[in-house]
């Protein structure tokens, strides 16, 4: 994507079905069909006319199998971003945009569906993608452990104070408590429980970790021109970048900028592509698998540095009620729910439409920072239609 193609593609509809882990009322494919129909109804678009599908994170629901339920007339694009984790979430929008801008498809659904009964524990599914004897011989078999190693480097070597993770988690729960769809609705973070929660892998206690939900999310993308004729105001995709630079990747913990979340080169491309800077972002949907990785992601994107992170990552700065940079207005993966992150782009659309449980006055731009610390990562910027 370059500036000439900026904003040519927009999100026209969103759908989200979330359940407790292991508590889905239908098998995975059934929930996904519901979420896709929700997204089409949200947009006022005939589901049979959807002709493209993109997912990420080793989703198991091959689009061709959805055709009978959706009444799909013709499947023209089906693809998935490489990588087992949430690193590909924003890149999925890049593939959808590529399909639409190149004329290979007209209406593309970006989706992710996950139900424990069908796909097992998400953390285990993510790790299956990465397991080898190097990491298993070191007792490393869960994403929490790999992220803990990187977090420890950030805290101990780069001297990022632990207090910042508490501020971030607190802000997520503050928003989640006000969101009727959130798993933490009505429950703000109990600070004592956060500080004394059981260790998972040091430096992470229980509430530093996102906990999985069953569910499915879907977003319908069409050309911005077409979106203007549909039910809801278009939210345009202003820019998207994905990948890894030399010295980062699947390197059995030999990554150069080890304590980072891997976003620096991706974020640089995103800023260059859109002509925007961190100060131009009104609200952030930050994929936080673990608290420290959320912090590293904010640093990588240029919102703050190792030196001033404690001044920037403060509860009052991060909340929708007047904060300088509201983060995770739905509650995010921590407090809204975690269906491999698909709730985060959906909240990006809702908050820019003014449909969030925690709206941000006059918000025009929203950064989606995808799964941090993965071998490939991706970010995107969504914007209100400025026609």
């Amino acid at each position: 994507m370059n500036r000439a193609s900026q904003a040519k593609v927009a999100v026209a509809g969103v759908g989200l079905r979330q359940y407790k882990r292991g508590g889905a009322t239908l098998p995975e494919q059934g929930i996904l069909i519901r979420a896709i129909i929700d997204a089409c109804e949200d947009a006022g678009f005939n589901p049979a006319d959807v002709d493209g599908f993109v997912s990420y994170g080793d989703d198991k629901n091959e689009p061709v199998r959805l055709m009978p339920d959706l009444g799909t007339k013709e499947l023209r694009w089906n693809s998935q971003v490489w990588g087992g984790g949430g690193g590909g979430i924003a890149a999925a929008f890049g593939q959808a945009a590529a399909a639409i801008i190149s004329g290979q498809a007209n209406a593309v659904i970006v989706f992710r569906a996950l139900a424990q009964g069908n796909s097992g524990r998400m953390s285990a599914a993510v790790m299956r993608h990465h397991l080898n004897d190097h990491i298993m011989g070191a007792g490393l078999i869960a994403p929490a452990q790999i992220c803990a190693l990187r977090a420890q480097r950030m805290f101990e070597y780069h001297q990022v104070p632990h207090s910042v993770t508490e501020e971030l988690v607190k802000a997520s729960y503050y928003h989640g408590a006000k969101n009727p769809e959130a798993s933490s609705f009505g429950k703000e973070l109990d600070l004592e429980a956060y500080r004394t929660g059981r260790w998972v892998t040091e430096p992470f206690r229980l509430f530093d970790c996102s906990r999985e939900n069953d569910g499915a999310g879907a977003l319908l993308l069409v050309s911005t021109e077409q979106a203007r004729d549909l039910k809801k105001p278009p939210i345009t995709l202003l820019g998207v970048a994905n990948g890894a630079s030399q010295g980062w990747g699947d390197l059995i913990e030999n990554d150069t900028d080890y304590a980072s979340a891997g976003f620096k080169p991706v974020a640089d491309r995103l800023w260059e592509q859109t002509g925007l800077q961190p100060k131009d972002i009104d609200v952030v949907q930050l994929y936080e698998n673990f608290s420290a990785q959320g912090i590293a992601s904010l640093i990588d994107h240029g919102f703050c540095t190792y030196e001033n992170v404690a001044e920037f990552v403060k509860f009052e700065n991060l909340i929708a009620d007047g904060g300088k940079l509201p983060v995770n207005t739905s509650g995010g993966n921590f407090a809204q729910g975690f269906i491999h992150g698909i709730g985060t782009p959906i909240e990006a659309i809702r908050v820019l439409r003014g449909e969030s449980a925690n709206n941000v006055a006059n918000a025009k731009t929203c950064l989606l920072a995808g799964g941090p610390g993965a071998p490939t990562v991706s970010s995107a910027i969504f914007s209100v239609d400025d026609r």
């Binding site: 397991l131 080898n132 004897d133 190097h134 990491i135 298993m136 011989g137 070191a138 007792g139 490393l140 078999i141 869960a142 929490a144 452990q145 803990a148 190693l149 990187r150 977090a151 420890q152 480097r153 805290f155 101990e156 070597y157 001297q159 990022v160 104070p161 632990h162 059981r198 260790w199 998972v200 892998t201 040091e202 430096p203 699947d250 390197l251 059995i252 913990e253 030999n254 080890y258």
Partner: protein, 146 residues
């Protein structure tokens, strides 16, 4: 065994109680993970060079939750990333002997090869021991209250 890339010689050496990493015969770069072709200079020739089982703690994580790792580790156990001495900063993974309550980044370690059962297969793995001498990590703020 499920290694990655061109690392078969690493496992063979480790099984024989030796630590070997590949060095590009043309440009001298120590590669890890192992490669078939040097992405720096294009050479396909590599020499597997021996290294001492010694290095520095680059990072660590102590696991308390039962994730289902090999039973030999027990709970809790400390996984480490170790920067190997004289290897251009290349790092290897392993576990620390004991609970290592005072472990800090920068601590010096010496290693040995242990056997670990992974999915009905016995593989060699690295077990590291903290040196007794005063930690070099005192210059770092530990940050965490652990």
């Amino acid at each position: 065994m499920k290694g990655i890339g061109a690392d078969e010689a690493y496992w063979q050496a480790l099984s024989a109680g030796e630590l070997k990493l590949p060095q590009c015969s043309a440009c001298g770069k120590t590669h890890w993970p192992a490669v078939w072709r040097c992405g720096e200079c294009g050479s396909w020739e590599h020499e597997w060079k021996s290294f001492e089982f010694s290095g520095t703690i680059f990072s660590w994580a102590r696991t308390w939750h039962e994730f289902g790792a090999a039973k030999e580790f027990g709970l809790p156990y400390v996984s480490v990333v170790v920067e190997i001495d004289n290897a251009n900063g290349r790092r290897l993974l392993g576990t620390i002997a004991g609970n290592a309550e005072n472990i800090r980044i920068g601590d010096r370690v010496r290693g040995e090869v242990i056997s670990v059962n992974i999915e009905d297969e016995v593989i060699p793995a690295l077990r590291w021991h903290l040196d007794d001498k005063p930690s070099t990590a005192t210059k770092f703020n530990s940050g965490a209250t652990l």
